[in-house]
């Protein structure tokens, strides 16, 4: 299947939605592709009661003349020139042929994922990402009456705690690895964004009965004693408790779930595959959100972790700029410095304590796909060397999980991305791109929302 767009947006989170609306309102043929079944990205998706702002954006997105391809995943780039290119996408529904998405301009709004850090027991069932557990609960996982420990860093912890509490979970502890002093500048930055501050206050109010520890992290997740042979129903050891560490003291808390999130890692794989410049882990853009590659823009978390408002703003700038509304884009970009100050404060607040590097012992698994333990990684000279000689990051997730950990533990930066961006059917890589007149689409934008 072949689809032609003036502007193609990858990712339907806040950044992608804002970009698509801005571009479509200027009369261009816009397509949005996202691997989730519904738009909204990390924050708005599956929300039972999305905040008013989110509803407003969602409504505008629904109304916009945009071709939505939800449940499609971009797996490869077949061609890229200054005049445009072709991305190949695979449908999550089996049996559907892959699609070739032709574009003149491309906007990457691929968001971020949670960072995991290895500690003894982190691979036990029911130890999961904070955002991941949040999503599962919104998706129907029964959590009522379950005891949950939330650990990691950043504003996400409180948000998830509030959400789980609202669903009847008993959140027994929130453990923030940062110190209060480290977080203070963030509070100051928030003063300039009263909306966010209010939201934070609401979250804390919602979770006021839960102890909130700073400089605190999980030292180990503990399993029930192995049920032993004979109990076929439960061959896997289950999470029973977590040992927490704070300022030299350790204590153990019983729990059913341990939800961890050590801040976010930007999804830069597609940008890397296209060859766009990436610095310190983030996609480099100018004030108009143009990347180092002609025809490619980037907005939202891949350019810096700045929260939903920064993503929305960047999305609008990218959408306008890609649509040729340079003046409007420039006017909007004047508002970026404030957002970037918040992003910097957030980054400082979430900077990981170096002692977290000592959590994993020699036997702790770092790469879950390939069962690579910490001991095997010590002494390797870099990410590529570790991959080649230990298989770390070589499994189906291609380092999406362990790469963020290895970056923090050893200072290794991930290599260049290879296709497919996600595990894809071999058949999806078999067909050549359909070559048809791309030029025909450019001058007469025919709008055909799905």
């Amino acid at each position: 299947m072949k689809k032609d767009f003036d502007i193609l947006v990858v990712g339907a989170g806040p950044a992608g939605i804002a970009a698509a609306i801005a571009a479509a309102e200027n009369g261009l043929r816009v397509g949005v592709v996202d691997d989730s079944p519904s738009p909204g990205g990390q924050i708005w998706r599956r929300g039972t009661q999305p905040p008013t702002a989110a509803r407003r954006w969602n409504d505008r997105f629904e109304a916009a003349a945009v071709v939505r391809m939800m449940g499609w995943r971009v797996i490869d780039c077949l061609r890229l020139t200054p005049e445009g290119g072709i991305l190949r996408a695979e449908c999550n529904t089996p049996g559907v042929q892959p699609a070739d998405l032709h574009f003149r301009h491309l906007i990457l709004a691929t968001g971020a994922r949670e960072r995991f850090l290895p500690f003894p027991g982190w691979t036990l069932p029911n130890v999961m990402g904070a955002g991941g557990l949040d999503a599962m609960v919104r998706g129907g996982l029964p959590i009522e009456g379950k005891r949950v420990v939330i650990a990691g860093t950043g504003p996400l912890l409180l948000a998830v705690a509030a959400q789980l509490t609202a669903h009847g979970a008993s959140v027994v502890a929130i453990c923030e690895q940062a110190s209060l002093a480290q977080m203070a500048p963030l509070a100051l930055a928030l003063l300039r964004q009263p909306g966010k501050l209010l939201q934070g206050a609401k979250y804390r109010w919602a979770t006021r009965k839960t102890p909130f520890f700073t400089r605190c992290w999980p030292a180990a997740a503990l399993a029930e004693p192995n049920p032993g042979p004979g109990s076929e129903n439960e061959p896997q050891p289950r999470l029973q408790a977590v040992t927490l560490h704070r300022e030299g003291k350790q204590w153990t808390v019983a729990c059913d779930y341990l939800a961890c999130g050590f801040h976010l890692v930007p999804n830069t794989e597609l940008a890397s595959l296209l060859g766009s410049r990436i610095q310190d882990g983030f996609v480099v853009t100018d004030q108009q959100m143009r990347t180092s590659i002609p025809a490619v823009w980037c907005a939202g978390e891949p350019t810096g972790i700045g929260g939903v408002d920064a993503s929305l703003l960047e999305g609008r700038i990218a959408g306008l700029s890609a649509a040729g509304k340079t003046e409007a884009a420039r006017a909007l970009s004047k508002r970026r410095p404030g957002m970037q100050a918040f992003a910097r404060a957030l980054e400082r607040a979430c900077r990981l304590d170096p002692r977290l590097r000592e959590l994993a012992d020699d036997q702790t698994i770092v790469c879950r796909c390939e069962d690579v333990r910490m001991a095997a990684l010590r002494g390797r000279s870099g990410w590529r060397d570790a991959k080649l000689h230990t298989r770390c990051g070589m499994g189906p997730c291609q380092g999406r999980v362990c790469g963020g950990a290895a970056e923090f533990l050893f200072g290794w930066s991930a290599g260049h991305a290879h296709p497919p961006l996600y595990p894809a059917r071999v058949s999806s890589l078999m067909e050549e791109a359909e070559e048809e007149a791309m030029a025909a689409s450019s001058s007469h934008p025919a709008i055909e929302p799905e």
């Binding site: 080649l388 291609q398 071999v426 058949s427 890589l429």
Partner: protein, 387 residues
Amino acid sequence: MTGNHDVIVIGAGIVGAACARACAARGLQTLVVDAAGVGGGATAAGMGHIVAMDDSPAQLALTRRSQQLWSAIAAELPTEVEFERRGTLWVAADEEEMQEVLRKQTVYAAAGLETEVLDARSLAEAEPNLRPGLAGALRVPSDAVLYPPAAASFLLRQAMDLDAKLLAPQRVVAAANGQVSLDDGSRLYARRIVNACGAEATRFLPELPIRKRRGHLLITDRYPGFVHHQLVELGYLKSAHSVAADSTAFNVQPRQTGQILIGSSREFDAEDSTINHALLGAMLRRAESYLPGIGRLRAIRVWTGFRAATPDKLPLIGPWPEDASLCLATGHEGLGITTSLATGELVAAEIAGVRPEIAAEPYLPARFGDGIRTDSESMLFGEAAYD
């Protein structure tokens, strides 16, 4: 490390590692220098099929000798080398290709290699996922599969146990007359210098008759039992590719992890590591024409690597006619994993001045004459070779 060495090996790919091991075993003071790490070049891109090949008698002699050397150390190889004697099935699509099976069997038998001819039915039993209607296959049970970077590491570790030293990462910018210049400005000296830089060997010896030949590979998620042998088509013989044309062949390998490695493609004059989607697609369709179920498997990664191709499909092993201190160990095209061990043996024998196990002449760089010319016009590269 900056003192005098008997031998400096440039390149810590599988060939350099094997050369260092063999030299160290002869008591030569050996230093290995690599611009990156161990086994990160073509060695990290190759399939790791240890295969006997009979494109020419010299190729058969070299691959056969190497296979014996791999067998001799098989028991010592650590688990991460993933050495498995899987055997190869040379798949014949029709009766014409069955004739080739019989010819191959005769040639292999003369070289002391035991093989088995499978008819259509036994082929289908051996590999149920192959398409029906194939004519048969030649089974070469002694062929094996391994994981090349770990094998290179192991060979180098053995060399270092024999007092060889490794200098990495350190790029060599020039090597001549017993002197090796590094890009940090320092110099190293040795009686003999071994150029084991694979497809990069021409960087400081531009006159070498070597061209880069890019190949694509795809690895899937784990599907244990999907195939049992390394499966290779005999068809490439019939379709006799022209010198310049890009080509693909059905070549599929089961990894010890249960993953399936799918190859292979060949193209000249591609200098970067980007994916050629047209060629990748052709390669996968070729694989699907033999294994109809392969399209349903999940691919997790596609990559490319560079073979060092010579005009006569034989490597360059031995002294460089224009500089007595230089010894070449490159040009292994699609067989360097296999032939690394025999290459090391030949290089060490040359440097130690003893008679090698197999005749060295067919691989001597001098076979191309003294003033080797490399403009592509004068280089008659043969048709697609094997991986």
